[in-house]
Subunit: 151 residues, 2 copies
């Protein structure tokens, strides 16, 4: 097997620790774009190991796959990404992470404020601030606190 033929999906899976099915799924989500060999099988560049590694790291940071795709769009399309390229998107990732940490800290501060006041069900409690409501995990609409009457 010649060096320049690229990696088969199984090899990429072994190199990244991902399941083969996950790699195919990521392709369907637009996170990675292999080419096909004569027999129709997927072939990957060595740089794709790094790419998928980045995906895994970004997931730990809580980014969704669409968000990761967005961040990855900062990479050069044609040429193999350089360390500089990776550094640039790592910085973008750090921005996401910083925001997440700030949000959680703000929630913590609000909680601290509420521990003493026992206002848990009052609309005025900062914990009900819709801005803080993470459109977190799970689907479907999450209803926000309406204008509840007294109590």
């Amino acid at each position: 097997m010649a060096v320049s033929e690229g990696l088969a999906i199984g090899a990429l899976a072994r190199r990244t620790g991902l399941a083969v099915s996950a790699i195919r799924y990521y392709e369907a989500q637009g996170l990675i774009a292999p080419w096909r060999n004569a027999g129709g099988q997927r072939r990957y560049q060595r740089a794709d190991i790094r790419r998928l590694s980045f995906v895994m790291i970004a997931q730990q940071f809580g980014l969704t796959l669409p968000e990761i795709r967005e961040v990855l769009s900062g990479l050069p399309g044609k040429r193999t990404p350089t360390p500089q390229d990776w550094k640039a998107i790592s910085v973008r990732l750090r921005t996401h992470l910083d925001q997440r940490i700030d949000t959680l800290k703000r929630l913590r501060d609000n909680l601290d404020g509420c521990i003493g006041c026992g206002c848990l069900s009052l609309p005025k409690c900062k914990l009900y601030n819709p801005d803080d409501r993470a459109k977190s995990h799970g689907s479907g609409p999450r209803y926000l606190m309406g204008d509840a009457p007294e109590d």
Copy 2:
């Protein structure tokens, strides 16, 4: 309508901002336990407004429903929870939150270390530490980094 008859599910929904279907779902998950009136309809205590509010707040903090049920088990079963009771479980919630913040901070530090070194795909990179891999959102096994060869 007499004061002591309790709240109907629609009233509770309006007071909390939750959907009626969500409240029923929480009951199925053991997060709240209404009684039934003569006609078989659910009736809630006023303290349940606070209880559901707590559920919503805990969700913002990233707790799963089973985790929230666990935290809520710290509340007295029979008597109406006092501000002290709420304070106690708020402290438990804060512990969860602190852990999450610490984990994210640790990830951020690792990222900072990696931005410079460009090691993104190296097994030695701290970002691959399995301990840091949040068993995050989404189901099914997440394969961890195996012992990948060089590169």
